[in-house]
């Protein structure tokens, strides 16, 4: 196991270096530079002098070709030094820290909701397989699965924020808090945050719901054909115990993989959805940093997303061993 982990670690580090190298190359070759997009540059009265621009170019490392600048970045990143954001003049780490909570707020809520709803629904569709109620539910879920989340987001905004404006059904259009959030009582603040979360969480959840439900059903259908299920039936166990104890437990392995693969999504947020809801999360930060050519922020985020993707895969592989004693990496 240890040698396996060591090998995975080195392959992972190599992969990370290659990914960041490719992305760094792309980012540096984007037309425009952080200097053009800086609002200070647009203002003629505050136009910095040539010497200032030269100084900024040097500080940003723009005078060096990108493959040299990459190794400077890599060296800094290795000592956990991610630099300052060009556009917001703050350490990148602080920026990311600010954004993690709103993103987690959405992704974790939606993940918990998905599991809470999808597992019973999946078991239900397994038990009632082929019956009209199962067909109806599966059909509905399939439609939802194909319904693009950003279209749903716009429709929901139109209905709840515009059409129901000034009625008791009104929900906020975007953002994670109202502008007068700080003046509210603590109960009011909680309510305010909650109402802001309803629409984004709905959009995050409904598509995944269908996917997870089908996932549970597909795995359950494979398991309930096994001999040991027939044996359990033959020895007179109740259907609930067979379903949960004998069948569902054996579908946990694919579930664990799925959990590992959702890990990067928890923090990376959804760029399009966060953009639509103006949610101050990681996805929005990334999108903003592309627009302003904010190299340090983009690179730090890319590195973080990639590490999470690799960690998720590794986690899934390791959890396999714990869930299924038949697998070992020795």
């Amino acid at each position: 196991m240890v040698s396996y982990l060591v090998r995975r670690f080195f392959i992972g580090v190599l992969t990370l270096m290659l990914i960041t190298f490719v992305i760094y190359g792309l980012i540096r070759n984007m037309p425009g530079s952080p200097l053009d997009t800086d609002p200070a540059m647009m203002d003629p009265s505050k136009m910095p002098s040539k010497a200032d621009i030269q100084r900024m170019v040097e500080i940003y490392g723009l005078d060096k070709p990108w493959y040299q600048a990459y190794f400077t970045w890599l060296g800094n990143a290795a000592s956990l030094e991610f630099g300052h954001s060009y556009s917001q003049k703050k350490p990148v780490v602080d920026l990311i820290k600010q954004r993690i909570w709103p993103t987690l707020q959405l992704s974790v809520t939606s993940l918990i909701l998905t599991y809470l709803l999808a597992i019973p629904m999946g078991l239900f569709t397994t038990v009632r397989s082929g019956k009209p109620d199962e067909r109806g539910l599966s059909f509905l879920l399939y439609m939802l699965y194909s319904f693009p989340s950003f279209v749903a987001a716009l429709f929901l905004q139109l209905i709840f924020a515009v059409h129901f404006r000034d009625t008791w059904l009104e929900l906020p259009l975007f953002g994670n808090t109202s502008s007068d959030h700080d003046m509210m009582s603590s109960m009011g603040q909680a309510w305010d945050s909650l109402t802001h979360m309803i629409l984004p969480v709905t959009c995050f959840t409904y598509g995944a719901l269908a996917y997870y439900c089908r996932f549970v059903k597909a795995n359950m259908e494979e398991v309930i054909q096994q001999d040991y299920i027939r044996t359990a039936k033959a020895k007179g166990l109740g259907p609930v115990r067979i379903l949960l104890h004998h069948a569902f437990r054996n579908t946990l392995i694919p579930f664990v993989t799925l959990l590992g693969l959702t890990l990067p999504g928890l923090l990376s947020g959804a760029i399009i959805l966060e953009q639509i809801f103006n949610w101050p999360g990681m996805g929005e930060l990334f999108f903003f940093s592309i627009g302003t050519r904010d190299y340090p922020t983009m690179m730090a985020l890319t590195l973080m997303f990639s590490i999470l993707t690799l960690l998720g895969q590794l986690l899934a592989d390791i959890l396999y061993v714990f869930v299924d004693p038949r697998i070992s990496y020795t």
Binding site: T15, I23, M30, V151, P264, S306
Partner: protein, 365 residues
């Protein structure tokens, strides 16, 4: 071929034929296939459905097909430019040649410009916009921006939606199958290197990569976007093809072919590839759905086709920008179109999955 007049044998149906028969029994998947066929028809005939240029017209003694200008601006006869039509045909045809006649598209609306008042010379009103742009008899799906017709934009945008799906997934499939086949067949260190590359691309956050690639291009067109989507979406197909090739490489019929002295190229293309294609068909269908989604999503973020190009995502984006005014028609129609197309491709993918799955290929169904 030996002469076998007496022994009549019916050849057992091939794999694809059987799969097709199973596919045909799935009503929803067949319906989805018809829907995509209908969309293709709309895309091909778009200038005949909605446009402001006559399909056929007789002008100064000659027959012209000005609607071809929607496919390619050079296919519109230069005589109309020389005669200063300024893209307004109805009034000018009548005025400049009273003998002329024309067959008009089904809907007189243009995806590239709002129809202005008095284009027919009858003093009729031009396209309304803003809150007046709701669906009406002249603008079936309403208007967006400064009076652009949504129906015309969506009819012409069908072409883009279908092309994005086909071209980007086509690129991805060719790349994926080639890499996967090469890695799987050659094996050894080639396989190790290619597998690492596949994993590398898989680990890159896809939207990050797509946004970075598109931002690199100075003036991205829809074709650039298709290439970018193709370059980022090939990994799952490569992995599946590789796995199939690894498996089939060791099978008896390949060994037999090798013993017969069949060339390596023939083994790969004639013997292994057709047998390895079935599992790859599924990610192709789902890939088309994903490509359409990403294109619309990128348009929504403002990374899409530049404004004069009508695409479903562009209309949706305009609806997003005017959301607070409640112009529901700018969201409803493109949203439903994207949804139905994605649904259709998902159903097709599912149909292929079920009908090519050898485990489900028992004779009882």
């Amino acid at each position: 071929m030996s002469d076998s007049a007496d022994t009549k044998t019916t050849p057992s149906p091939g794999f694809w034929r059987e799969a097709w028969q199973r596919y045909r029994r799935r009503r929803l998947s067949m319906f989805a296939l018809y829907f995509i066929g209908l969309l293709s028809l709309v895309a091909i005939c778009s200038p005949m459905i909605a446009g402001t240029k006559p399909i056929v017209c007789k002008y100064k003694g000659n027959i012209y097909f000005p609607c071809m200008g929607y496919f390619n601006t050079n296919w519109e006869n230069p005589i109309f430019q020389k005669d200063r039509f300024r893209r307004v045909y109805p009034r000018n045809l009548k005025r400049k040649d009273p003998q002329s006649w024309a067959i008009w598209p089904l809907v007189y609306q243009d995806p590239y410009r709002p129809v202005r008042s008095n284009e027919w010379g009858n003093g009729e009103a031009g396209n309304p916009f803003g809150s007046d742009g709701r669906p009406s008899r002249t603008n079936w799906f309403g208007t967006y921006k400064t009076g652009y017709d949504i129906f015309a934009s969506m009819v012409h945008g069908t072409k883009i939606a279908l092309l994005v799906g086909f071209v980007s997934t086509g690129i991805a499939a060719i790349l994926g199958i080639a890499v996967g086949a090469f890695a799987g067949y050659v094996g050894g260190w080639v396989d190790i290197v290619l597998s690492r590359i596949i994993e590398l691309v898989m680990c890159m956050p896809s939207l990050v990569l797509i946004l970075a690639l598109i931002a690199v291009i100075d003036q991205p067109t829809i074709w650039h976007m298709m290439i970018v989507l193709g370059l980022t979406g090939w990994t799952s197909m490569a992995r599946l093809t590789r796995a199939e090739f690894l498996k089939l490489r060791e099978s008896e019929f390949v060994a037999a072919a090798r013993c017969l002295g069949v060339s390596r190229r023939r083994i790969i293309f004639r013997h292994i590839l057709p047998n390895a294609l079935a599992p790859v068909m599924v990610p192709i269908a789902f890939g088309i759905a994903a490509a359409i989604l990403i294109e619309a999503g990128l348009s929504l973020l403002g990374f899409g086709a530049p404004p004069p190009n009508p695409s479903w995502g562009t209309v949706l984006n305009s609806g997003k920008e005017t959301l607070q005014s409640g112009y529901y028609w700018q969201l409803l129609f493109p949203g439903i179109a994207i949804f139905l197309t994605v649904l259709a491709y998902n159903l097709i993918g599912e149909g292929i999955q079920e009908s090519t799955d050898p485990r489900l290929a028992d004779p009882k169904n």
